[in-house]
């Protein structure tokens, strides 16, 4: 497997995404990338820089602002033998192009009784906390995870960004690949780490007091919360992928610790955390010594003003308080 470890410094999260795209495009001529300004422009955050120069306009395809059309075309191209990686610049914009994801890509294999496969990756990125405002800050992965037929990957660090994107591109089914722009600049801690497949959670820390289940940017945020609570020993589980979901690792951990806190950047109300709580309630209810709680964003559109946004989004401090509630209850 091609591997960006050749570079001196461990790559940043965005370099890892870039490397995964480049490596897979080198390895497989049917991989194409499509999106607004991903080609000559190198992407709104520079994630696709260099791809246009290396692979040309035939494979790194700048598109007009027509996301529903682009994603629909990606579905058609996938059925016709390509492996498209289509970008939705901000996750908030899936609202203009959900049909090709939800009603087409996710369902085609099923609707055709296995007659077609749709090897497609929908790349997008999210990440509140930078005053992006209500339409550029939402974490909507729960919506995608609700749809059977879609995989949803949410890497929390550069190494997983690389490994999971490679896996997504190689998968013969649709994958929603959710990057986090506030992680883009972060360098991998452990680049030498072994690749885990999708559907396998990672136990980031071990500890007997409670289980913390999270993904994406809330992984480093939870680590920071734990660092500030030296007396608390937690199993910290990075789910890495919401679908497939590694229920076993979560349940097994909660059986040991007896308490559980699910943390996510998405809004709590009917959010993705409910799935985890339900699985824990199903699998570990009689092993509980304390509560199973969620900590997510408050039920409001994402506010612009920094102080309000901080009050709305979960952060290490809020996670710390939620940990305390979980331990007290």
């Amino acid at each position: 497997m091609p591997d960006p470890t050749a570079t001196a410094k461990p790559p940043r999260y965005l370099d890892a995404v870039n490397a995964a795209l480049a490596d897979e495009m080198r390895a497989d001529g049917s991989v194409i990338a499509l999106g607004v300004d991903i080609g000559r422009g190198g992407g709104a955050y520079g994630v696709t820089r260099g791809l246009f120069e290396e692979f040309g306009a035939d494979r790194v395809i700048d598109t007009p602002i027509a996301e529903a059309g682009v994603l629909g075309a990606a579905v058609g191209a996938a059925m016709a033998g390509q492996r498209p990686v289509a970008e939705v610049m901000y996750m908030d914009f899936v609202t203009v192009c959900l049909d090709p994801i939800v009603n087409q890509a996710a369902k085609l294999r099923y609707m055709t009784g296995g007659g077609v496969t749709v090897p497609i990756v929908f790349r997008t990125q999210t990440g509140g906390g930078r005053s992006g405002g209500a339409q550029h800050s939402q974490s909507l992965e729960g919506i995608l995870a609700h749809i059977p037929g879609l995989d949803v990957y949410c890497p929390s660090d550069a190494r997983d960004a690389y490994d999971l994107l490679v896996a997504a591109i190689r998968a013969d089914h649709p994958v929603c690949f959710v990057e986090n722009r506030r992680l883009y600049g972060k360098r991998a801690d452990g680049w030498e780490r072994e690749a885990l497949p999708p559907g396998r959670a990672r136990l980031v820390r071990e500890g007997a007091d409670l289980t913390i289940v999270t993904w994406g940017r809330m992984v480093p945020e939870s680590i920071a919360a734990l660092d500030a609570l030296p007396d608390v020993a937690a199993d910290l589980i990075d789910l890495r992928t919401l679908a497939p979901l590694d229920v076993d690792t979560v349940v097994e951990s909660v059986r040991r610790t007896g308490r559980c806190l699910v943390v996510h950047e998405a809004v709590e109300r009917f959010g993705p955390g409910g799935e985890l709580i339900s699985k824990v309630a199903e699998g570990a209810l009689f092993d509980l010594d304390g509560p199973i709680l969620r900590h997510g964003a408050r039920p409001t559109p994402v506010p612009y003003s920094p102080g309000l946004e901080a009050a709305m989004l979960p952060d290490s401090e809020g996670i710390g308080a939620a940990i305390a509630r979980t331990l007290e209850g």
Partner: protein, 331 residues
């Protein structure tokens, strides 16, 4: 009245199809007609489920368009897609079984009428979402362009679909990519309960399409020869790398929007008028004038027998095992 408009760039061959080809197309049309008749009947019998939309009266568009295609060319179609699938080579037996929800169906009973698809024939699917098939066809054409093997994609859709964002974005992309895709807008004069002519103001479909930079042509859609000539010209041009084209096929939906539709909205007298332009009768008359009598009757008879057999076999076929409900999810 259907009438051919100015040709904007596509140049359909002027010679009518030879009798051999005409006969072949008539056979396709007869098979579509017989299939749809059975679908209606079997729906009333309770053997066909859900929402079913038939294409009686529109057979020439399917037969003429797909008649031009190779097996590995692509099509996408709509909720009203039986005819296109049959014309593209789908076997009516598994199709009927699909509508009966049987394991032997084209999609093993998972899809149903609105989701018929057969990738081995380039049929990338009927679609329950109006407009959704348009960008899918453009994407297949993009793939075809990459391959450089001269494949093309045809997108079938109704005149009601042109108002959708998906149509617009599909057109924009087809032009941007100069993709080998032909847009076949089947103007059957109704979108559900709404007569389409003039319904939403503005110029006609051709003006709309031309404004994207796509050559556009209006075609007498009940004349299979004219359909075929127009599609051939567009397809040849797309194969040659000249990009997309748009064809408005003037035709008429003889049945309801769906099976069971009471059709209170139907404009009076209109159906009778169009019945006189029946696409099957038209070819039959042409052949008769060339000395071949009773061809349609014979082909319809043959087709009806074929479809009766399809029904018998579908009825005898097993349903999918309920335990297999999770098969094919994919992720």
């Amino acid at each position: 009245m259907p009438a051919e408009d100015e040709d904007l760039k596509i140049e359909p061959a002027s010679a009518p199809p030879d009798p051999e080809t005409l006969r072949e197309r008539l056979r396709t049309m007869a098979r579509i007609r017989a299939f749809e008749e059975q679908v209606g009947r079997q729906f009333r019998e309770g053997n066909v489920h859900g929402f079913v939309h038939t294409s009686i009266g529109q057979e020439a568009v399917a037969a003429g368009s797909c008649g031009v295609l190779d097996r590995d060319d692509f099509i996408t179609t709509t909720h009203r897609g039986h005819g296109h699938c049959l014309a593209k080579g789908a076997d009516p037996e598994p199709m009927m079984a699909e509508l009966f929800g049987r394991e032997t169906g084209t999609c093993h009973g998972r899809g149903g009428s609105m989701h018929l698809a057969d990738a081995s024939l380039g049929i990338l699917g009927a679609n329950g979402i109006v407009g959704a098939g348009v960008p899918i066809a453009v994407g297949a054409a993009l793939a075809a362009r990459r391959e450089q093997a001269g494949r093309v994609a045809l997108a079938f859709f109704g005149e009601g679909a042109v108002h959708c964002g998906a149509f617009h974005e599909g057109m924009v992309l087809a032009v941007a990519w100069q993709a080998p895709v032909v847009f076949i807008c089947e103007n059957n004069h109704y979108a559900e309960f709404t007569p389409s002519t003039g319904a939403w103001g503005g110029p006609g479909l051709l003006e709309r399409a031309s404004a994207y930079g796509v050559p556009a042509l209006r075609v007498e859609g009940n004349d299979v020869g004219k359909v075929e000539a127009a599609v051939r010209a567009a397809v040849n041009s797309a194969r040659a790398g000249a990009g997309p084209a748009f064809l408005e096929m003037l035709t008429y939906r003889m049945g309801g929007h769906y099976e069971g539709d009471a059709e209170p909205y139907r404009v009076e007298g209109e159906r009778e008028e169009w019945a006189e332009r029946d696409p099957i009768a038209a070819v039959d008359a042409t052949l008769a004038a060339a000395g071949q009598d009773g061809v349609a009757k014979a082909l319809l008879e043959e087709a009806r027998q074929e479809m009766e057999a399809a029904v018998r076999n579908a009825l005898a076929a097993p349903y999918p095992e309920p335990e297999a409900v999770m098969e094919y999810v994919g992720a």
